[in-house]
């Protein structure tokens, strides 16, 4: 039993080595395929970051009538937080709103002057509300229409922004859907390319398989070394891919971060290095092993 195991490994390694060119081309194609998969993975991470960034930009604000007591506003805030659609609520008091306004327009002397001349704060306190998903704002706006809130609220800016929010939310879902579709399509193509390469590799060895059968080898006796080779294909190509990606990600990251501030792609890559490697390893080995087993099947029928 142990001898058989040793034989399978030895012969598997030996075949891999002796079919040098064949192994090298197969591994190269698999590196390309795994790079594709890893690239898609990174792009979808990036897309998700961008989409979330976009989603975070969307909020609606409720403005409260002047002189509304702070506890009343905080009560509304708590009620909002209890709603399942609401992700976060930020309270901006009248003073805070004024400070913010001044800060934003500090370069503009006219505005500063006007503000000087006013003796009362013209700005209203507000709650900035973010939803868990962009299509939930309608429900939140509806919630704020309740009779009990009417005396407090001066305006909800949902209705003016309704169209923009809807458009943004449809853009977001379009990005997600197209992303998913492209990822799936390219993954399927990559997998087919990998399987076909392995099929060709095995095709060149079909006479060997036939001879082994005619000499009396059982199917598993023949498959064993091919299994080992399949694992080797996966192991080597996954490792090569992740190693090649490291400097690429390092060099690419600054440009990506320029385009999509805060995406921190390289950091993500570094943090998840092991996980990504394991994913590639799994893909590579599954492709290598299943590819070989499927390809060898018809040559064993003799």
């Amino acid at each position: 039993m142990i001898t058989a195991f040793k034989r399978v490994f030895l012969v598997g390694f030996q075949n891999f080595w002796r079919n040098g060119w064949l192994s090298a081309t197969t591994v190269s194609v698999m590196v390309l395929v795994l790079s594709m998969i890893l690239g898609l993975l990174m792009i979808s991470v990036l897309t998700e970051a961008v989409v979330q960034h976009l989603e975070n930009q969307i909020d609606i604000s409720v403005y409260f009538k002047p002189k509304t007591a702070e506890p009343d506003i905080l009560q509304v805030k708590n009620n909002l937080l209890a709603e399942k659609e609401v992700k976060s609520v930020e309270y901006v008091s009248e003073d805070a709103a004024l400070a913010l306004f001044k800060e934003r327009h500090k370069a503009d002397t006219i505005i500063a002057q006007v503000l000087e001349e006013l003796d009362a704060n013209p700005l209203e306190a507000s709650l900035n509300i973010k939803a868990k998903a962009p299509d939930q704002f309608a429900a939140i706006a509806k919630f704020l229409e309740k009779k009990e809130y009417a005396p407090l609220i001066s305006a909800v800016n949902y209705y003016e922004n309704q169209e923009t929010i809807a458009r943004l939310s449809s853009v977001i879902s379009a990005i997600r859907k197209t992303g998913l579709f492209i990822t799936l399509a390219l993954s399927v193509i990559s997998v087919l390319v990998a399987l076909n390469t392995i099929r060709i590799a095995i095709y060149t060895l079909k006479d060997e398989v036939t001879i082994m059968k005619l000499v009396g080898a059982t199917n598993w006796f023949i498959r064993g070394p091919f299994l080992v080779e399949g694992v080797l294909y996966g192991l080597i190509s996954a490792t090569a891919t992740i190693i090649v990606f490291y400097p690429i990600m390092f060099l690419l990251a600054p440009y990506v971060d320029n385009f999509f501030p805060g995406s921190d792609l390289f950091l993500y890559f570094q943090r998840n290095f092991m996980t990504l490697w394991l994913i590639l390893l799994l893909c590579g080995i599954v492709l290598g092993v299943f590819g070989s087993m499927i390809a060898i099947r018809k040559y064993l029928k003799i």
């Binding site: 001898t3 001879i211 082994m212 005619l214 009396g216 029928k301 003799i302």
Partner: protein, 225 residues
């Protein structure tokens, strides 16, 4: 031991073998002769189930070879050592490994393999070429590796399809003497050849095939076509 029972084999409607019935006893040395294309190789291929007959059945010790499922075929083939007309050596393996492969297949231990393979290599005069790959060997050397592989695991039956086709006269007689000796030890031998000299010297059973039919089958036969 071996019974071909009304065997016919057609390739694309053309009969390579027609209604062959042949009984071979254990320990026999049977030569199958016939012109090129007569159907000798086809007959031998049917015995190891490399090809399936169009009709008829083949029995090996009461077991119907033609009805065996794929999973059983390896065990049938292990009982038969085949010297293929086209050698069928594994191109990825050295001479030594090709011969060792036949022993690994039947589950021989590493020790047995290390003892027997060099012996057999010596028997066919290739002890110096053990580490060479088939494409680094001459035609005759390849043929001798094929011979060594067929007999190294001591099968019950040896099928020798034109085993001396690429050998010089000296080597040819070495191989024939080897086959005779193995036969004396009890192994059944099926030899396909169109070498008149061999047949006439052997003085064993000769089955003559012409255009897929047995035209003569005689003990102590001679080569007549």
């Amino acid at each position: 031991m071996i019974l071909f029972d009304k065997i016919s084999k057609a390739y694309n409607g053309h009969f390579a073998l027609e209604n062959i019935t042949l009984n071979i006893e254990q320990g026999e040395f049977v030569s199958i002769v016939g012109q090129s294309g007569a159907g000798k190789s086809t007959l031998l291929k049917l015995l190891i189930a490399e090809e399936k007959p169009t009709s008829g059945r083949i029995f090996l010790d009461k077991q119907d070879v033609t009805a065996l499922p794929y999973a059983e075929l390896p065990f049938l083939r292990r009982r038969i050592g085949t010297i293929f007309q086209d050698f069928k050596l594994l191109s990825q393996k050295t001479a030594y490994e090709n011969i060792a492969f036949a022993m690994e297949v039947v589950g021989k231990s590493k020790k047995e393999i290390q003892e027997d393979v060099p012996q057999v290599l010596q028997l066919v005069g290739l002890e110096e070429k053990a580490k060479q790959f088939p494409n680094q060997l001459s035609g005759g050397e390849q043929q001798r590796v094929a011979i060594a592989r067929a007999l190294v695991h001591q099968p019950d039956i040896i099928i020798a399809d034109e085993p001396t086709g690429n050998l010089d006269p000296l080597n040819t007689w070495d191989v024939i003497r080897l086959l005779l000796k193995i036969n004396e030890l009890g192994t059944t031998i099926l030899l396909a050849t169109h070498d008149r000299e061999i047949i006439n010297t052997l003085n064993k059973r000769v089955v003559s095939i012409d255009k897929g039919k047995v035209i003569r089958d005689e003990q102590n036969g001679r080569y007549i076509l």
